[in-house]
């Protein structure tokens, strides 16, 4: 009897975990990441240029976010969807967490839940140099989003969250895609 109860409990737990997984954004891959699989490394102002200049990407979109930042969390699934939708067109989405040290485990968990299975970073070092390395006009308010072309030249930037339509409208011309029709709606 007991093993059966244990089995049922275990099944309920697994089903519960599956249900929780379904809360992931639309574009996330079906098999969720574990926290340990998240590639999350420090980056300071001095090494930001290597992140911004990726070499083989036509467009690099850098998004500076933090776990406690509500607009950041709200726009995050859209950015993940954008990354997945346009990765083969030459788009690279780079997330940089601005969380304080004590919040980094939570940031890692958030990235896992969002299904971010490509390298991401967290900011270290001084703020001023970090801000200026991304965009000297940025005030430092979060979220901050910066779009660079293949040469590493800043082509667009904004503070505050953006909806998916804005994200697409920004990256499509830079990816030399012919029209403004959503890639999803064409397929």
């Amino acid at each position: 009897m007991r093993p059966r109860i244990l089995l049922i409990t275990a099944l309920a737990f697994v089903l519960g975990a599956c249900a929780a997984r379904e809360e992931k954004p639309v574009a996330a891959k079906p098999d969720s990441l574990t926290v340990d699989q998240v590639l999350f490394t420090p980056v300071a102002a001095e090494s930001l240029s290597t992140v911004i200049r990726p070499g083989d990407s036509k467009v690099t979109l850098v998004n500076v976010w933090a776990t406690w930042c509500e607009p950041c969390r709200e726009e995050f699934p859209g950015l993940v969807k954008l990354a997945r939708t346009y990765e083969h067109d030459g788009l690279r989405v780079v997330f940089v967490s601005a969380d304080f040290t004590e919040a980094l485990p939570e940031a890692r968990t958030f990235l896992a839940r969002q299904g971010v299975d490509w390298p991401t970073w967290y900011k270290t070092g001084g703020d001023q140099a970090f801000i200026d390395a991304l965009d000297s006009k940025w005030t430092g308010a979060l979220p901050g989003t910066f779009v660079y072309d293949a040469q590493g030249k800043l082509r667009d930037s904004w503070e505050g969250k953006a909806d998916y339509a804005k994200l697409e409208a920004t990256v499509r011309p830079l990816l030399s895609l012919p029209d403004t029709t959503s890639k999803e709606s064409r397929s």
Partner: protein, 206 residues
């Protein structure tokens, strides 16, 4: 009803979406805007920026209750504010955040926080977010220091290390306050730091 909510939500999303980097902040040398706009303080009084003007200068700090950066810097801001009076600098902290985004930024929490932290300066509630908009402030905390003649002489962050007060190398705001208090020029007049975007109310402040 659902449609109305959806329409309101859609409208609010449009209004808060992706502002360009960045809004024009108040330029150095200019005077404080909306200096006679009344705001309710945590102590329950009406106050204006003009009311708190010090003999040697005025310090306006946009901050809030909920933002982790504001919290990290809070003790330092309170210490600076509490000591500013003796230096001839009037201080006002202003919370411009819409508490609908985060209830912790509501007026009642301001009252508690001001008491807990022993704030001896005005902690005011910018009920329309209009004062922050007029200053071109974008984040919390963000400081604006005016000299005796009312001209902006420092705009920026508190210091160079929000995370660790003991590791601060450049106490920008404190240095600026001391310079203004001594009638000297501010050495570093513009600085930046990461911070929480101000949660502006959607309605115009005017």
């Amino acid at each position: 009803m659902k449609n109305t909510h959806a329409a309101l939500l859609a409208a609010s999303l449009v209004l808060v979406s992706g502002a360009p980097v960045s809004a024009d902040p108040l330029a150095l040398g200019t005077k404080a805007p909306m200096a006679t706009t009344k705001m309710k303080t945590a102590a329950g009084k009406d106050v204006t920026i003009a009311d708190v003007k010090g003999e040697k200068g005025t310090l306006v700090v946009f901050t809030c209750n909920a933002c982790p950066w504001a919290k990290k810097w809070e003790e330092r801001i309170v210490k600076l504010g509490n000591e500013a009076g003796a230096k001839g600098i009037g201080m006002i902290a202003i919370n411009s955040n819409d508490p609908k985004v985060n209830a912790e930024d509501g007026y009642d929490v301001m009252k508690t926080r001001a008491k807990e932290r022993g704030m001896k300066f005005a902690y005011a509630y910018d009920a329309t977010s209009g004062v922050a908009k007029a200053f071109g402030a974008t984040r919390t905390p963000e400081a604006f220091l005016f000299d005796a003649s009312g001209k902006l002489v420092y705009h920026g962050t508190i210091d160079d290390n929000a995370d660790d007060a003991a590791a601060v190398k450049e106490a920008y705001l404190n240095d600026a306050v001391n310079a203004v208090s001594a009638g000297k020029a501010v050495a570093v007049s513009e600085t930046k730091a990461l911070g929480c975007g101000i949660k502006f109310r959607n309605k115009s402040a005017s």
